[in-house]
Every structure is written in C-alpha cells, then in structure tokens.
C-alpha cells in the first residue's frame, strides 16, 4: 500500500521494493531509493527534531547536505549509534532504526522547550555573559546542565567495530560535483584520455537535474542524460566515478580529501565492506562544480515543521514521488519557487497561494503558474507562520505594511535565491568577489590550479553552465597533458535559469522587531540576534559570527551565512563587501573520526618494536613497559612476587652474583672513514684522536648552545671505525644531528654514518660473576683483566657467531655488553642464561637497571637532564676535552648564563626518614615556613628504593647544589613536608672498586 503522501506516477523510484524502518520506535514503510527524509515525508511526518537552544520543533528544511534541522540518531547496535545524521542524506535500508535528538521526554512534548518561552534570557552572546561568574559554577553547575539540556545525540557505549579504508589517488583532472556542470567537465576531460576522477556526494549523479523537470539535454530528459553520461564515463578505463563521495577539504597544491560512504546505506554490510573510505587525491587540475544552495526566507516562525526550501519540495516530488503537503503556500523573492508550485500543482497538490516579494515580476514561469490557476500575490510578504508542531497557516501582508490575512496551509515553500557554493574554492585559498548586480559572492582570484564552473561560479541557466563546464574540462585536461578530444559538447535543448532574489530579513522581521525569524536554524540564531550583536559592538562579520554563533553549527552556515551578513551590513550601514564574508574551512560537511583515522587504531595506531629476546622474556613472565616504540622488559616477577619484591631481588642478585639485561634498544651508530676521529672530536666534548683501538670512552654530545643532548659509550674498533651508542630515545635525533653536521657544516670530512641499532642485539651481563658466565661461550678473546680491562672492546665469537664484546658497566659492577647479530640474539641470550643459572644469576629489567645506575650516580639523559643542563651542572666536567679548540657546543658552554654561579647542579638526596621514597618531579625548597608561593630551588629527577642501601635514594637538580653538601632541604608535599639531606651522587662503592670485583 502506498504511503499517504506518495504520489503514484511521480518520482523515479520503483514502488515494488519496500523497506521497513522505525522512527522514535514507530514502524513505517518506505521504498528502495528513499532517503530517511523522503520516506518520513511520504508518511506525512514532518516533525523530526528539536532545535539546539530553544528546543523548538523542527522539520526538514532541505533535501540535501545543507540540512540544518533534521538531525537524527541512526542506531545499528550498541556500538553503532551515529548521532547528528542528516535525515536528508541518510539512505533508507530495510530495518533502519532512527531516533530524534535533543528532546525529553518526547519529541512532541519537550520540557526543554521552556527555553523558547524564556528566550529573552538566551539571546545572542548569552553563553559569554550568563555563565561567567561565579567561577566555581561553571564546572559544577552550568557545564553539566547545559550539556544535559543541549545534547546533540548520544554517543555509543562501545568502541566502533566498523573499519575504514584509505586510498591515495592521482589524476590529471579531478571534478568535484556531479551535476550537469561536473558531468560536462568530466566528459570533456575524459575524452582527451587523461585520468579523471569525478565525485559527487549524492547516491545518484545529476545534482539539480534531479528536480529540474524542464531540463532537456541531447534530446533526453536532463536526469536521464546525466545517467547515460555517467554510464559512459564508468565504462572508460581512464575515469573513476565516485558516488556518495564528499570532497570535504581542499588543501595545498591540489590535494583534496574526499570521503566515500561505502556501506551506511546497506542493511547488513558485512565485515568485508569498510564503512567509509578516505580518498586523498592529488590532481594536476581541479574542476569545482559544486552548484548553488537555495536560501530560505527570513520571517517569523520560519522554522515550523513543513516550512522548507522550494527546491527541496521539488526534489521530494520529482525524484522521490512525495508531496510535502496537500495545501501548500509559496513565499518567494525569485522565479525558481514558481517551478516548485507548478510541479506540485500538476501532481495534484493544491497551491494555496504564491506570495512574491517582488512588485511586478514577469516571465514564462509566472505566466504558467497563472495559467494553472494558482493565486499569485505580488509585493506581499509572509510575515508569520502559524502552527507549532506543524505549520498550519501563513499570514500575508503587503510588504510595506497594512492589513493582512491568514491563509491555512500545511506546508510553505520558500526561496530567497541561490548562494553559489564557493566553500571548496575558498578552502583552496581563492579569494571570493562580490557581484553587486547579482548580490552573490563568486570566485575571484585563484590561488591554485583549479577552475569553478556552473552555478558555483555564478553561471545563470543550464545552457551557460554546460557551455562553461565543457570548455573548462577540455582546457584543464589539455593543460594537464591531454590530447584534443573527439567528442561533442552536450546540447542543451531546454533548461531553467537561476534568478536573483533577496538577502537578509523580510518584512515583519526587520529592524525593531523581536520576532523569531531564524537565520541559522541549527544554532537558533535569529535576525534580532544579529542586530543585537552589532549593537553590542561587533563590527566585523567574524565577531558577529562568534558572538551569535551564526554559521558555526555542523552545517557551517550553508543556508545562513549570506542572510546573516546582509543583516549585519544593513545594521552597520555598510555595503556587504566591506563587512566581509567569513572564511570557509574544512570540512565541508562533518567527517567521521573513523575515516580520518582509518586503520591506524588499536595495535595499528603506532608501530611496536620488539627486541630479539622479547619472546623469551614474555615466556618468563616479564612485565613490559613502553619506551618510545619499544616494548622493554620492566621486571621479571617470580610466582607471587609484586613489582617491589621482584626489583629488590633483581637488584641484590646483580650485585651479589650477576644479571642479564637486554640493552638492545640503545641506539647504535657506526662512524666510519678516514676522518672518523676528526668527526667524533667535533660532535662530542671528549677527545678521541688519542683513544686507542680496542678502548671505549663515555662520550657527551652537546647542542651548539652548550646543553647536554645525548650520551653513551663509544668503542673504537679500528683507527677509522667507531661503534657509538646513544640513549634509547635519542637514537633517531642523534643520527639526524650527526648527519646535519656532516652534510652541511663539515662536508669536507670523509665519513660515513650508519644506523646499526637494529643489526646488533645487546645483552648486558653485569655482576661479580659476569666474566665467569660469558667466558665459556667466547672464542678468540682473552677476557683477563690485563688483556681486557674496564672500558675496552674486542671482536671475536660467542656461541660461534660474531660478537663485539664491550667491557663496560652501567651498574658499577664488573660488566660486559655482548653485541651479536640480531638474528642470533635470542639463541645467545639462552646460552648465557644457561651459564648464568649455574651461578644463580638473574634476568633483570629496566626498573632494576634504573635503580642500579642511580645507586652509582650515573645519569640518564632526559630524566636527570632536561635540555638546560651542562656537563658541569651534571658533574661531568671531566668529560669535556679542555685542550680542544672546537666541538659542537664549545662556544655555548662559555655563555654568561652557563658559567654563572648558582646554577642548578645534580646532587644526591637522602630522606631523613630512610623509608620515605621521594616523588620524581617533586619541588625542593630551602625554607618550608616561607609564605606561599615558595621559592623553589630545584626538583627531584630520580628516586628509588634501594634494597642494596637499605634505604631510599634520589638524585636532584638543586641551585648551587654542590655547595650545599650536608644541608637539610625540604620537599613540600600534599601530605606534609619531607626533610632531605644533600649528598654526593654515589650511594654504592664510592671508590669504584667493584668494576674489577
């Protein structure tokens, strides 16, 4: 059975295939090809939402992407509840569930509508004025209440289960918009053989040909011509045709972002289909064919459900076969609304009256309307719409005042004229120009290789549009390297003409009136609000916009910007161009986060780096921590052990026996070449020329400003070969820093730099038994103290594979770092682990590594330093070559501030109560009794419980710290002030005897 407002014989949809759906729980039936909007209208439903601020009942303004009112929530399941979906865009599928938003308890009876009655409180700028004071009230009162009352939809409770695809594409000509203009351009470009992409936001191509019943091209009905042309384009190898695809952003150098809605219109898309696909297209030339958007008339209660754009009513009739009412009024300031009245009248709908603001217009459409017997009133205005949940009447007066009459209607179609869609042109940084005669902003100066054609370029009429578009498409293709096409320009046999119209408030809503004549429906901005903004001192359109929120809703003012501008200009007494148009910004219509994020979420959000021993550590039950992209074993708990117990055990075992630690994440760079030593001299503070092959040195790297940039142990493998280690986090930037100097400041040096971080797995074996653990597995290296002292490096074999064996220590114990090719890392680790087991050694993680190094006062760059710490501040002056005449940072080190007294210096701290462990980052003061705000003299950089010391230990940066040895300082914390004593940085084995222990 037909829905009540579906007109048999009208529209292009087949009535054979029905689709059931529900709205606010009530079941309805539509037909395949409907939008949610057309299906609801077919069932006579106009009331679909409540407005944002005043909770006024709202219906459908439009039949497309510009819709400000009909925002609904589409529910598929608990995880898929999409809010703010425009019902005019959502395609119907069988089983679709939609709910209205922003109403409680029901759409017809909404408690929030009290805001409408209390609206004097809520006028322009009310957020700024009302909710400023008292300060506490914002968080506790205003914000939660406003959120509850002004919600736009409900968020889903579960993570989005859909997936989103992403594609990059390149083409010679990208055509944005698939109406008559876009199709003509695409055809012309495609005929030259170049790659063409044509995109349109609708499900079907044709643009305004969907409703322009009079259009005829190449002997066919305009819409049929469009479908035939699209079919031909789809068959061409050099053309990609994308429907349901919105160009939302125009970026630099013809880089355009498009989002394709792949499966929002399908009942059960299945897992194989993405929900949306992001297209990032780089085009040699772009043709913008985005058409124009009809404007509404600004009069009292112009937001009542049933009041809509004339072109929307025509689309519902001519495409969907739906009448938007049975007794329809028309209010217009231009010709195009007549065509809507004529089409509806011919379909059997009564046209109560046409009210035309113009005094004595003439033309064929007016004659035709008159011939059909439609009542026409010139020089008159609709000053008010009656009804509440649905329009019931319109009050008509002479436009200059005088007696009115009220005409009963169930819908009002309105047209104030057409606004060229210059959004994408403006996003491309093109400058719009105001055409005084047509009162339109049209593309002016171009900033990129693009061209606007058709209605978005101010073209009047189908004939002019197709001419201009075809020529532009051919030209763009030629400029992009295409051959001369062999096709013929489509011939327009008949078409309609865009006409003028009016901007701003109509009669009855002008200066001095207080009626609710809406300019921006979505943000509830009235003509009065805009005038008030001007009165309160907003003289730039950008200020008016922010003060009133006109054009700032999700529809971005597609229907409201020009009216708002005209009202502000009138109030300011300035011409429109002087007041200025607000800037258009991406996105053109809302874009889901899903489509932007694509597959980059969850495990794919960021790469994960794992070391060669990761699997072994995982099998041992290691707990991991994230260090940059790396997963590092944090500690190795035994059954029943918490972190604290595990770390204490690991710390004690390493110093008593030994331990194995995966140090593979440290950055490694090989510096090779005849000038390698010279290069090292310039990049590090230390002297390198005289370092013997086979020896190591702790190196410090500075920035030119004299501050510590990185550190690490460097082994000299040969006169021309250094094995440099960096901090884990610093590896990429140290490499970049070295390359920068090598390529640009010291290009005369003959040196190659190679990152070898991933090539070598590094197993640190530390502790008194470390040599006993390693030695049985090593071939060709004499590991005696005489042959291989602390800070030396040897090459040989371990477990039969090559090794670079460093004798070095980050624990203060006798220690080695075994470098082996990463592929053998796990096998060598397992062999070393088996040896270690014989001695009772432990595996240890990063937490124990941190504690052990802090017990020795070894710094970690980035933790104990923060980019403002010099070698001297850190107590590392010994590592700066005093006889050197140049290295990066040498001049920075002598800057006045860097040699001044009282700089923060790294020291040790012991809490007076040994059981108290300080918080890292805690501030330090000299006098805890001073008034707040206290003078802070430093902060804690590292702090741990040291089981080896039987107490807590800490490192801190303290002003003049080394002159404060033995002093008592204070760490004020929320639960009381902690007393600390300033000490040296070494808490274990001050003499360093254990390195050979």
């Amino acid at each position: 059975m037909n829905a009540a407002f579906r007109i048999s014989g009208a529209g292009r949809l087949s009535q054979a295939k029905t689709a059931s759906f529900s709205f606010d729980g009530k079941p309805y039936t539509g037909i395949a090809g409907d939008t949610l909007a057309s299906a609801l209208l077919a069932n006579g439903v106009h009331l679909v939402g409540r407005s944002f601020k005043y909770h006024r009942p709202r219906g459908f303004l439009s039949a497309g992407a510009e819709e400000p009112n009909a925002l609904v929530q589409i529910v598929r399941d608990d995880a898929r509840k999409t809010p703010n979906v425009r019902a005019t865009v959502q395609e119907l599928y069988d089983g679709l569930i939609a709910n209205s938003q922003n109403r409680w308890p029901s759409l017809a009876f909404d408690v929030g509508a009290v805001n409408d009655i209390a609206s004097p409180m809520f006028s322009a700028g009310f957020y700024y004025k009302t909710f400023m004071w008292p300060k506490w009230a914002w968080k506790d009162l205003y914000e939660p209440k406003i959120r509850a009352a002004a919600g736009l939809g409900v968020s889903p409770e579960k993570p989005d289960p859909d997936h989103y695809a992403s594609r990059y594409a390149h083409c010679e000509v990208l055509v944005l918009g698939g109406g008559a203009a876009g199709i003509a351009s695409a055809v012309a470009a495609a005929e030259t053989g170049v790659r063409v992409i044509l995109a349109d936001e609708q499900a079907e191509f044709g643009g305004s040909l969907r409703f322009e019943s009079g259009a005829r091209i190449d002997g066919q009905d305009g819409y049929a011509w469009a479908q035939a042309a699209i079919a031909r384009l789809k068959a061409m190898d050099n053309v990609r045709v994308l429907s349901r695809t919105t160009a939302f952003g125009y970026y630099a150098q013809n880089f355009v972002g498009l989002v394709e809605r792949v499966s929002d219109h399908i009942k059960n898309p299945g897992r194989e289909l993405a929900r949306e696909r992001l297209w990032q297209v780089r085009a040699n030339r772009v043709v913008i064919a985005t058409g124009a958007i009809e404007r509404h008339m600004v009069f009292a209660n112009n937001d009542r459900p049933g009041v809509m754009l004339a072109s929307a009513a025509r689309t519902y009739l001519n495409h969907y076969g739906v009448a938007v009412g049975r007794n329809v009024g028309v209010y217009t300031a231009n010709d195009s609304a007549y065509a809507a009245a004529i089409d509806l009248k011919k379909a059997g709908v009564n046209i109560a009256a046409i009210v035309d603001l113009r005094d004595n217009p003439s033309g064929p459409v007016i004659d035709e309307a008159r011939a059909l017997g439609i009542e026409i009133n010139f020089g008159r205005a609709v000053v008010s719409a009656g009804g509440k949940l649905r329009v019931s009447s319109m009050t008509v007066q002479p436009k200059n005042g005088g007696g009115g009459r009220t005409i009963p209607v169930d819908a009002i179609l309105m047209s104030a004229g057409w606004t060229p869609s210059v959004h994408l042109f403006s996003q491309s940084r093109g400058k719009v120009a105001f055409n005084e005669e047509s009162k339109r902003f049209v593309p002016g100066a171009y900033a990129q290789d693009c061209v606007s054609v058709g209605a978005c370029n101010g073209a009047d009429g189908l004939d002019a549009t197709v001419d201009e578009a075809y020529a532009a498409g051919a030209k763009a293709a030629k400029e992009a390297g295409g051959k001369v096409g062999k096709g013929a320009k489509p011939k327009v046999d008949a078409g309609e003409s865009w006409s003028r119209g009016m901007l701003g408030a109509g009669p009855g809503a002008g200066p001095g009136t207080t009626v609710k004549a809406f300019v921006d429906f979505q943000n509830d901005v009235t003509a009065k609000d805009i005038r008030q903004a001007v009165h309160e001192g907003m003289h730039s359109i950008e200020h008016v916009k922010r003060f009133t929120t006109n054009g700032m809703a999700t529809d971005q003012g597609k229907t409201s910007n020009m009216h708002g501008l005209a009202i502000a200009a009138e109030e300011l007494g300035k011409p429109i161009p002087q007041v200025g148009l607000t800037t258009f910004r991406a996105p053109y219509t809302p874009v889901t986060f899903g489509s932007i994020v694509g597959h980059a979420r969850g495990a794919l959000f960021d790469p994960t780096r794992r070391t060669a021993t990761h699997g072994w550590a995982a099998r041992q039950g290691a707990v991991f921590e994230d260090v940059g992209h790396w997963k590092r074993a944090w500690y190795f708990p035994k059954a029943g052990e918490g972190m604290h117990a595990a770390v204490n055990r690991e710390c004690v075992t390493v110093r008593k026996v030994g331990g194995l630690f995966d140090a593979s994440t440290l950055g490694k760079i090989e510096v090779v070449g005849p000038d390698a030593a010279k290069f090292m001299e310039l990049l590090y503070t230390n002297p390198w020329e005289k370092l013997e092959s086979g020896r190591c040195r702790y190196g410090i790297m500075l920035r030119e400003d004299g501050f510590i940039y990185d550190d690490g142990v460097v082994g000299r493998l040969a006169p021309d070969r250094f094995h440099v280690t960096t901090t884990t986090g610093g590896a990429p930037r140290v490499m970049n820093h070295m390359e920068d100097y090598l390529q640009t400041e010291f290009p005369h040096l003959n040196v190659w730099l190679t990152s070898i971080t991933e090539q070598w797995a590094v197993i640190a074996v530390q502790g008194p038994k470390s040599r006993d653990i390693i030695a049985p597995l090593v071939e060709g290296i004499d590991m005696s103290d005489e042959a291989m002292p602390h800070m030396s490096v040897r090459e040989g074999k371990i477990c039969g594979v090559p090794t670079r064996l460093f004798r070095m220590s980050f624990t203060g114990e006798r220690g080695f770092e075994v470098n082996v090719p990463a592929d053998y890392g796990e096998a060598v680790w397992e062999a070393l682990w088996a040896e270690g087991q014989k001695h009772g050694a432990t595996a240890y993680g990063t937490e124990t590594m941190h504690v052990l190094r802090a017990e020795k006062g070894y710094i970690i760059v980035g933790q104990d330093t923060d980019g403002t710490v010099t070698p001297n501040d850190a107590g590392l002056d010994w590592a700066v070559g005093k006889k050197k005449t140049d290295f990066v940072g040498i001049r920075g080190l002598t800057r006045p501030d860097l040699v001044a007294k009282g700089r923060k210096q790294l020291v040790g701290l012991k809490t007076k109560d040994p059981k108290v462990v300080l918080e890292e980052g805690a501030q330090i003061v000299a006098d805890p009794k001073q008034p707040i705000p206290m003078k802070m003299i430093g902060h804690v950089t590292s702090s741990y419980w040291s089981e080896n010391c039987g107490r807590s230990i800490a490192l801190a940066l303290v002003a003049g710290g080394r002159d404060r040895m033995g002093q008592t300082l204070y760490v004020p914390m929320p639960n009381g002030t902690i007393e600390v004593e300033v000490t040296g940085m070494v808490f274990v084995d001050e003499k360093g005897e254990r390195l050979n222990g």
């Binding site: 970049n736 290009p747 002598t894």
Partner: protein, 98 residues
C-alpha cells in the same frame, strides 16, 4: 599536504617524506670558540622569521636523507624553488620581477 622537490632525487615528493630544519644560510663560524657573545647570539638564536619569502633547510629524511635548501613563501606556503646544500642563495628567484 605540500609537494616538495628534492634537488638530489630530482622529483617532487609528498611533504611526509621531509622534515624542516630551520633557516638556511647561517654558517657555523669557523673559529666559533672565539666568537663574541653578541655574534654567537646572532648566529645561534636570532632568526629572521619573515612574512613572505624564507630561505630554509629541509631534509629528505624518508628518502635520500640529504639536507637541502628551499625558498618558500610563508604566506602562501608555496615553494618557489629548492637547491642543494652548499649552493649560494639564488641571486634571482623564478617568477620574480626582473
């Protein structure tokens, strides 16, 4: 996303492959240790930050890894030209009035 022409690879590549490296043509003094405080300040801290044409360094870090120089308009973001590291500042820019 910008397209940037790498003068070593001799082709335009997407911005994602590159990293900006600050203003160009600021040479490290050969005897830097002897620089006065004022000269060091000028060398290390002071940058032109112009509105309009800027000479700056870029690195094709996810490509050939070379540092090079570029002329860019900070208002339009448009690259006027790129050239190899070590080459002098171009005397005349393409498209500039003669």
């Amino acid at each position: 996303m910008l397209l940037i022409r790498c003068p070593y690879c001799e082709e335009e590549r997407p911005e994602l492959e590159f990293r900006n490296a600050g203003e160009a043509h600021i040479a490290r003094p050969t005897n830097i240790a002897a620089e006065s405080d004022d000269d060091f300040e000028k060398f290390f801290f002071i940058r032109a930050n112009p509105k309009g044409v800027i000479y700056e360094r870029w690195r094709h870090i996810h490509g050939c890894a070379r540092f090079f120089n570029a002329v860019r308009d900070t208002v339009t973001d448009k690259f006027v030209m790129t050239y190899k590291a070590g080459e002098p500042k171009p005397a005349k820019l393409p498209g500039a009035p003669k």
